[in-house]
Subunit: 250 residues, 4 copies
């Protein structure tokens, strides 16, 4: 497709990682390592300048999107220790795709909550690459179709209050059309059906941790919504064309 002059926005993982990192986490050699160098990581809030005219866009995965939006402002501000970050997340079942498998049967998912992919979920590599951090990522499956919440824990690299943390988020996102910094913990319901991310943060004076919460619709900002947003920027359309920051509620 690239050779035919088309622009490609890829929702798969193939062009998100460096070829050697890809081989390490996916267990197979990359089939088109040369193309990897030309790919732009399609998180508009991070790469808005590089996307116009891009030929190959690696649209981010759902967990990395929620995580990078939550933590990048603190990394950029030098406000968080990048070693030993914990990312604890929950997703609706649509994150696992439409394929039918035993553990996706309604009777298995409904009324149940569990962790999966312990220690080695492949999205870890994508988060670490973009954030330049080491991360322990633990995803959970929640009994719902859509929605994703990331609860991230790190150590501040300098004294910081909850207000300071919220300030860092506001500075990063107040001009963004699809990232809302909120005071109260966000719910996944509030972003369902939209391309929005809702983020808040706290610093715990007792234990010293920085806590960041980030909610997206894994099928919106976490997948197709984000791909449309990136395509809008690639082609010079209005960035919000065809997208909404307001979801379907309730």
């Amino acid at each position: 497709l690239i050779e035919a002059g088309k622009t490609v926005l890829d929702l798969g993982a193939d062009f998100r990682l460096a070829p050697e990192t890809y081989a390490q986490w996916y267990g197979v050699a990359h089939e088109a390592p040369a193309l990897c160098e030309t790919a732009i990581y399609g998180l508009v809030e991070r790469n808005r300048q590089e996307l116009p005219g891009a030929r190959l866009v690696a649209v981010p995965g759902c967990y990395p999107t929620a995580t990078i939006l939550a933590l990048a402002p603190f990394v950029d501000a030098g406000a968080i220790e990048v070693e030993g970050i914990i990312v604890d997340a929950a997703s609706g079942v649509s994150g696992a795709g439409r394929g039918i498998r035993d553990h996706l049967h309604f009777s298995e998912v409904d009324a149940s909550f569990s962790a999966y992919g312990l220690l080695d979920h492949r999205h870890t590599a994508e988060m670490e690459m973009e954030l330049g951090a080491t991360i322990l990522f633990t995803p959970h499956l929640a009994p719902m179709v859509r929605g994703m919440l990331v609860t991230a824990y790190g150590r501040p690299s300098k004294p910081m209050t909850s207000q300071d943390a919220l300030g860092i988020l506001h500075d990063a996102y107040d001009h963004e059309p699809f990232v809302l910094v909120v005071d109260e913990p966000p719910t996944t319901k509030a972003v369902t059906g939209s391309n929005a991310a809702m983020i808040t943060a706290r610093v715990d004076p007792r234990t010293g941790y920085l806590l960041v919460l980030s909610a997206i619709d894994n099928l919106g900002k976490g997948a197709s919504g984000q791909a449309v947003q990136a395509a809008n920027v690639v082609f010079g359309f209005q960035e919000s064309a065809g997208l909404s920051a307001i979801g379907v509620y309730p």
Copy 2:
């Protein structure tokens, strides 16, 4: 009731904490501090020897039950740093009781996942007291009626593998009728309707963290089931009388 010679098993929080800790987390002075000294914490797996003949039993809260069962073996074995433990947990909505409130309406809970009680949930004090640790506890509300999963993160205080961590759990619980150490991540569905807890653990060689997962039915082992178990021990009945380690599935 105590003065009348009755035995009391209290599912409330009043006699779980020392009076001064109670005042600190609940914001009111304790009304019966003298009674607190006589109360036995009713987690049978920890206090089986002290419960027979007890007159006042403080039945543990749901989050502390799942958390203490997960972490106490590591604390007892000197295998975990007790400072800066992170407890990330999710509960079904029955943990919030039968009262009707806006955020418990079906339309609010269904298809949504969110955190609440950031930094200051009162169950933190109960976990810290029993474990002698400092803990950042972040509870979440999952769209289900029953079930609770604790995902806990700590730093090993000595070199340890996942096998070592599972070994510590097996040593602590293989003789217990209601605690099952499992290899795969437990689901809340597997314990729904039962008095069982299912626990597993991992050590991440990349980041060095110890990860412990613990699932209970918040209304079973997390509340009334546990109270019955404790009462059985108090009165010298068979410990499992009226209880099951097998839930309702699916």
Copy 3:
């Protein structure tokens, strides 16, 4: 508001019925009987000609919308006996509004299905009025937020096959932007978040019954979506402005 020259689209029941019928089913005298005569019933598929320029529009209730769309083509075609029609329906809980009541608590609604309003649900009057029929209406509460399915049973007034029944529906709706006649039983999920209705029909050669199934989003075509559709017609806007026939899936 009317006196002040405003146009009113009322989502309440007050102007849907004749004053005497209102008094009979709601148990109180109507407070503005004169206004009732001027109100237009806002089911666009039935009253598209009367709506332009209307000053007072009684927007239909959710159950009557799904029911009237299902049965009116057969009544109009003289193809169904109007006495003794059975309307068996299920709705998501948002049909009961945002008020908090015991039976709307997540723990009551989740994983449960039940009938309510036996024999005397007030929407019966609205269906009977519009269809000129006598109806036994039995609504059920399904464990979901949105969506409504009507399963209606009647006696054909002349020999008819399933193909004939589908033909009557196609004749009535193939030109409608928001009513889709389908071959297979519709799901409420397919219309969630949209202003669409999906309808199918069968005639059972064994028992002779005509069976009609009709699915809407009770908050879309069953409430606010329909109100917007009616307003568009009242004011001469494009009928589908701000509305979609495609919902949020899954």
Copy 4:
């Protein structure tokens, strides 16, 4: 197994129908027609006298159980016209078994309600056989794991009030350990995890219909619970051994 002298309680459909009826609804010739004659239909409330010592018991299907319990008292009392009965029912997804199929994926079932098996669901034959009636049966899939509600409509064959109808049910079931006649519409949640059926009835003075509602747990009284109950009677055990009329709530 029968030849080996074993007692068989069969949860499949093979021995519920006469061979010719089986062939008609299942589309294949019966493979053991001779055995059919010896099979006892295992609905204890109907066949308590025939079950002791039975060698082959055809345990009823879930929909027929709920339906026959609802309607048989009226048929036996000559109080309902047996032609043209309508049985409208909803079931949780566990009624479809553990097999994985597209339409049982969590994302398809959750938040959706739909009818299936229009006109020709095989359980119709079982209901008609036991009741000596002609029935139009329309099953629906509700977004829940367990539970089944039958809403049945018929014509009284003599003048009857709601009180009369409830009286007929009380006469039939007040001595039964697992059938509860209730005044208010039953919920499936109230019987989940139990072997109980909850039934109520109304007669509509406006349209003349008799309305009967019947709730069971499709995996309890609708399947394995009922099989245990029948086995208890076959072998002369206490009928309620291993069973409960009280479910898991909420």
